[in-house]
């Protein structure tokens, strides 16, 4: 019997779990996938939005501004890359200018600081590669970029280090009310709990409907992206938006916190809640629309493309609260969900704690140490790390210079990686320009060795994604 069971190990579920760890309570996170951060949290713009976009008075606006403000401290506590690089919203015609002013006024009302409208020339002075068609721009200095994998992993690992239990490949199939709370049937057995927190992302309405009468519907809204090589990561230094529309914030051009350049997303509604395929149309639209913002879109420098699903709800706003006694929900979390995650985590945990009468946990340790990245260290610190553990001197991923030491750390640490994608999200091995061409065989070997499984059992991600299908006729005796 748990006090609280969180459904979903995306950034919202993990943030809630981490904040619940501040209380004396037994907490469990149920995740249908094999790892944390496998849904919307892994495929988004990775932006910490300023907060001028959401209508004033909405939970979106409130959580956005609050989450943005919390991000500095959170990134320090959880040891994750975060940078306040600022953002510009571009306007291409004088007739759109009033829209920019509306946005600015809304931002001021929402509590966003430092907003200012620039002329086209001022904007180009700030960002020389902006298109000549830009006639004005809204500048938001508090906007930032973050690594969404690390943010989610940071919350999750810190939660686990403070006693939260994670169960993977445990999708919830049925929910029943019991005398003392709820009984959840999952792929790996039943779970009894006093309270439930539904943080099931793009499936949160389906989870809601397992327990309660239908209240809201979520439409998966696909967003396709192109990621470019680090050689063009400096095309812009700020996040470049176009004027938002009712379909969302439009296609952006932004550096990532790791120095790549990200273009996207599109916005198209799909029916299938797992439809993360890219399309020729979508990828074409990304490049075409991005070309409005900057002088030259580096299409030849694309190293990968991907698609993520926004949990677009028919509620128009985040659903945050207690929907039935002991049944809490953080649902319809589309943009600015990533930004809002720290605030949603704190808000939901406090709500649950007050309702259940949980006591504070004086032993809670908010500090998490991420994988030590050789690339981030000074030469002296790097040399010292290799002396301490020679595996840090053996480079496995050439493009991102990731060492065997980092990969082993990613597997052995709290909630360690069990798949190629798990290693990739924790270390960046395979995320560079060769897209895992060189490091795949080595990482497969390291995973098999560390997990003590045959190489043929190592997966890319979910069940059924085994990378190798068997041995050759001579069965590994080639060399």
């Amino acid at each position: 019997m748990y006090d609280v069971t969180v459904i979903g190990a995306g950034v919202i579920g993990c943030a809630i779990a981490r904040e619940l760890a501040r209380y004396r309570a037994s907490v469990c996170v149920l995740e249908k996938s094999e790892d944390v951060c496998t849904g919307t949290s892994k495929a988004n713009s990775a932006i910490v939005h300023g907060g001028f976009d959401a209508e004033s008075g909405t939970k979106k606006a409130e959580m956005n501004v609050r989450g943005n403000a919390m991000m500095t401290k959170i990134s320090q506590e959880l040891d994750i890359p975060f940078k306040r690089n600022g953002a510009l919203v571009l306007c291409f015609s004088e007739s759109e200018r009033s829209g920019l002013e509306t946005l600015c006024a809304r931002g001021v009302k929402n509590g966003v600081e430092g907003l200012r409208i620039l002329s086209g020339d001022e904007a180009r002075q700030m960002e020389p590669n902006l298109s000549d068609a830009v006639c004005a721009a809204l500048y938001c200095p508090s906007s930032g970029i973050v690594c969404p994998f690390e943010l989610t992993l940071g919350f999750a690992e810190n939660a686990a280090d403070n006693g939260v239990e994670f169960r993977f490949e445990s999708g919830v199939t049925a929910i029943a009310r019991t005398a003392s709370g709820y009984r959840l049937e999952t792929d790996t057995g039943a779970v009894e709990t006093r309270a439930v927190v539904n943080a099931a992302g793009v499936c949160a309405d389906l989870v809601h409907d397992l327990a309660l009468p239908h209240a809201f519907s979520i439409t998966p809204r696909a967003g396709e992206y192109c990621l470019c090589d680090k050689s063009v990561g400096g095309l812009v230094s700020k996040t470049i938006f176009q004027m938002p529309s009712e379909r969302g914030k439009g296609v952006l051009v932004t550096p990532t916190v790791h120095g790549n350049l990200l273009l996207g997303p599109t916005a198209s509604d799909v029916e299938d809640r797992a439809f993360t395929a890219t399309t020729a149309q979508g990828l074409g639209d990304v490049l075409q629309t991005a070309a409005l913002s900057v002088k030259q879109v580096p299409a030849r420098q694309i190293i990968t493309s991907f698609s993520g699903l926004r949990a677009h709800g028919d509620t128009g706003d985040f659903v945050l609260g207690e929907s039935a006694p002991g049944f809490f929900e953080a649902a319809c979390i589309e943009s600015p969900g990533l930004t809002s995650a720290p605030a949603i985590g704190a808000y939901m945990a406090q709500l649950v704690a007050e309702t259940l009468g949980l006591e504070e946990n004086a032993d809670f340790n908010p500090i998490r140490h991420g994988v030590v990245r050789l690339n981030d260290l000074s030469p002296a610190a790097r040399a010292a790390k290799i002396r301490e553990n020679p595996l840090y001197g053996s480079i496995v991923c050439r493009c991102e210079t990731v060492s065997e030491g980092e990969i082993v750390d990613s597997i052995r640490r709290t909630l360690g990686a069990t798949t190629l994608d798990g290693v990739k999200r924790r270390t960046r091995a395979g995320m560079g320009r060769c897209q895992a061409g060189f490091c795949t065989p080595r990482v497969l070997d390291i995973l098999a060795r560390e997990l003590q499984v045959p190489v043929t059992a190592v997966r890319k991600n979910a069940r059924g994604s085994e990378v190798l299908v068997g041995k050759t006729q001579k069965g590994g005796a080639a060399l």
Binding site: L283, R463, V469, K474
Partner: protein, 418 residues
């Protein structure tokens, strides 16, 4: 640490460069290899056909590499394995990391770049669809099969008819996999003719020219691909889509010289080859830094890599002996009329050997054309070729005697109809 000559990469280029440099008088040479053995990509090329020019016999990749390794050992050339170069500064300070030696720097008198190339990935092609397991670059699959002993799949579609793709079509077939089709975007194959015959035709594997993969199916594992015909602008033709069920897609869609280190050193790159711009000594825009092999431009035969690398090794030895040469007259070598690029792109007659090989590739399939060389306006070579193909590197030889005291500033290499 100080070294006269640091060679980065212990594949065929690095090995041949090291040998030639030492034979030409270089001392205190260090060869750095990031993998756990010398030989580079040859180690996974267990098919034969290597060394026909160099040794007049057919060797496998590992055999070819072993011969050069033996020479390097016989000359007692120092090499380090598992040694990854992290950066090269313009002043030729090389930063290296390895398990044994940790992080250290080397001040090099001269450097030879021999890092080879990498394969273009699915991402670079922006092929739409899901991102399941089962999409491999052909070279990765080759390593898995030939060195690790594992099968990446059982039912295979190959995109791209570069040599590695062709070789892997045969290799996968011999291992019991079914290779359903090889699709090629271009109206011609980018691979060697002999590989098309020996790897596809002999096994009845169809090659679909002017076709490409337009969608990848399958969520966890590849379940199939859609292949479409393309028009002459390489745009998929609607209505031509054909579904091929498979569990594996191998990509052999081009090689990219791996020049991130070179760029960091300030070496100027060619937009055509993606390799350094070099002179007759295979010296880059940064004095004392030389380049050879696939990091310079992608080769199709290792014999030519060895030959070119030896020239780079000799040039580096001469540089170390004589220091930076006073810049004498430089003649530009220009590609024209169907020739995409030349290596080198400038020649200083003072510094060139008695006979200099200029390598180049054409931009399309040409039949019964002439390869011509012009000194200024004057045509000095005119040689008929029955077939010229982008997949086959061509070469011409220039004599020092013809270029000394030249009155012209440009040498043009082109194809001509007559």
């Amino acid at each position: 640490m100080k070294k006269d000559l640091v060679i980065i990469g212990g594949g065929p280029a690095g090995l041949a460069a090291a040998e030639a440099a030492v034979l030409a008088g270089a001392r205190d040479v260090l060869l750095l290899e990031r993998d756990v053995r010398l030989g580079g990509i040859l180690n996974q090329c267990i098919h034969n056909g290597f060394g026909l020019h160099t040794f007049k016999e057919e060797l496998t990749g590992p055999e070819y590499a072993a011969r050069f390794e033996a020479r390097v050992r016989a000359l007692s050339i120092e090499y380090k394995l598992g040694a990854m170069v992290l950066s090269i500064a313009p002043d030729r300070t090389v930063t290296v990391v390895s398990r044994e030696d940790g992080l250290y720097t080397i001040e090099a008198g001269a450097i030879i770049l021999a890092m080879g190339c990498r394969e273009r990935s699915r991402g670079a092609l922006n092929i739409p669809g899901f991102r399941p397991a089962g999409v491999f670059s052909a070279g990765t699959a080759q390593r898995l099969v030939n060195m690790e002993g594992y099968m990446p799949g059982r039912e295979v579609v190959i995109l791209g008819s570069g040599d590695i793709g062709l070789i892997m079509a045969r290799r996968m077939t011999l291992e019991g996999a079914k290779v359903r089709v090889v699709a090629e975007l271009q109206p011609y194959s980018g691979g060697l003719k002999r590989n098309i015959v020996q790897c596809l035709d002999d096994y009845g594997i169809p090659l679909k020219l002017s076709h490409t993969v337009t969608e990848i199916h399958g969520r966890e594992r590849v379940t199939g691909v859609t292949i479409s015909a393309v028009d002459k602008n390489f745009k998929p033709i609607p209505g031509s889509e054909e579904f091929y069920s498979c569990d594996t897609l191998l990509l052999s869609v081009g090689l990219i010289p791996e020049n991130e280190l070179s760029t960091g050193a300030g070496v100027q790159l060619s937009r055509v080859t993606n390799g350094p711009v070099v002179n007759e000594s295979l010296e880059t825009s940064v004095p004392g830094i030389f380049a050879c092999g696939n990091v310079l431009h992608v080769h199709d035969l290792v014999d030519y890599v060895s030959e070119e690398a030896a020239a780079a090794g000799r040039a580096a030895a001469a540089y170390l002996a004589q220091g930076e040469r006073a810049a004498g007259k430089a003649i530009a070598v220009k590609p024209a009329g169907g020739v995409r690029y030349t290596v080198p792109s400038t020649i200083r007659p003072d510094a060139m050997p008695d006979a200099l090989t200029v390598r180049f590739r054409v931009d399309n399939i040409y039949k019964n054309r002439f390869v011509s060389v012009y000194f200024g306006e004057e045509r000095v070579q005119h040689r008929k070729k029955t077939v010229l193909a982008p997949g086959e590197m061509e070469q011409i030889v220039l004599k020092k005697a013809d270029l000394t005291d030249a009155a012209f500033d440009t040498i043009t290499i082109c194809t001509e109809v007559e």
